[in-house]
């Protein structure tokens, strides 16, 4: 990648992040329907996380060497098991109490 392309990646990432931040903040400020707002919050956060990983941290599914991608994917797996497991078990306990 040339310097211009790399600079453009940061600027695209910045532009997308601003939009994906503005949408949830606006919805919350305007007190829209709670159920809808929560869904939009979740979707915007996931999209913005992907934007950051792609444009700021320069991760991609292509061209990653050896352990790099595995390191990130393994961490994602650990997070999924630990967070998912915690929420599952504690939500279950709450219902039984």
């Amino acid at each position: 990648m040339t310097r211009a392309q790399e600079l453009r990646a940061y600027l695209i990432g910045f532009g997308l992040s601003v939009v994906l931040t503005a949408i949830p903040f606006t919805l919350v400020a305007l007190h829209k329907d709670a159920q809808l707002t929560l869904w939009v919050l979740g979707i915007c956060a996931v999209l913005q996380a992907i934007v950051h990983l792609r444009y700021f941290l320069h991760l991609s599914l292509h061209g990653q060497q050896r352990d790099d991608l595995q390191l990130v994917l393994f961490t994602a797996l650990i997070l999924l098991i630990m967070i998912g497991g915690t929420l599952w078990i504690l939500a279950n306990l709450t219902r039984r109490m």
């Binding site: 990648m1 310097r3 790399e6 600079l7 940061y10 600027l11 990432g13 910045f14 992040s17 601003v18 931040t21 949830p24 903040f25 919350v28 400020a29 709670a34 707002t37 929560l38 919050l41 979740g42 915007c44 956060a45 913005q48 996380a49 950051h52 990983l53 700021f56 941290l57 320069h58 991760l59 292509h62 061209g63 990653q64 060497q65 352990d67 790099d68 390191l71 990130v72 393994f74 961490t75 650990i78 997070l79 630990m82 967070i83 915690t86 929420l87 504690l90 939500a91």
Partner: protein
């Protein structure tokens, strides 16, 4: 899709940097492993937060304590800072393959990033004081303990990151853009981007979800 060989995750210094690029492989990859463990730690704090989000024990709740405007400012500071730290790395990559190049732009972008980081911290500390004044101290409820742990730990990371950046600026000014500081800038920038990534989770799950 053809891609140039990358030695480690993220933006690489590139072959023009010679030895500095080769040596970065272990340094930066190792730092990524640390960051992954750090993100697991944050993940568990998030899990604890979500499981205790409703346990306010009759004390103040999110709507009594949070300010949307202040969180928007903090988000802005951190996002712009993340971009300017990226600009510092681009400057390092393209202007400093020979260490004689002038350092002023590199130092400029690093200082801009750290100033924005301090702007974030100043706003966050004001919020913390405000929340404590309204009775939202950590010992009040399970929810507040979880809130202070999660947001406080992120704030601690930003403080350490700001300090680290200042050390790098002093190192670069004293010794020039040598290998040691190149690796430090690359690692610090990744660290800084990650803090912004964690902040997305915080402003969504803690602040916005709390104010809905």
């Amino acid at each position: 899709m053809t891609t140039t060989k990358s030695n480690y995750p993220g933006l690489n210094l590139g072959a023009a940097h010679g030895d500095d690029h080769e040596a970065a492989e272990t340094a930066i990859f190792g730092f990524w492993i640390f960051l992954m463990s750090d993100i697991v730690t944050f993940g568990m704090f998030f899990a604890v937060y979500v499981t205790s989000a409703l346990n306010t024990a009759g004390g103040p709740g999110p709507k009594d304590l949070f300010s949307l405007t202040s969180v928007a400012w903090q988000t802005g500071f951190l996002l712009v800072s993340s971009v300017t730290s990226g600009l510092a790395v681009l400057n390092l990559k393209h202007e400093h393959s020979q260490s004689q190049s002038p350092r002023k732009w590199l130092v400029f972008w690093l200082l801009v990033s750290v100033l924005l980081g301090i702007g974030f911290l100043q706003q966050e500390v004001r919020d913390f004081i405000d929340i404590a004044h309204k009775g939202g101290v950590p010992s009040r409820s399970a929810w507040l303990s979880a809130f202070w742990s999660l947001v406080g730990m992120h704030g601690l990371h930003v403080s350490v990151g700001s300090l680290w950046c200042l050390v790098i600026v002093m190192g670069v000014l004293a010794q020039g853009v040598i290998q040691r500081w190149k690796h430090a800038i690359m690692s610090w920038a990744v660290f800084w981007h990650f803090l912004d990534l964690v902040w997305i989770g915080i402003f969504t799950i803690v602040f916005l979800r709390g104010l809905v």
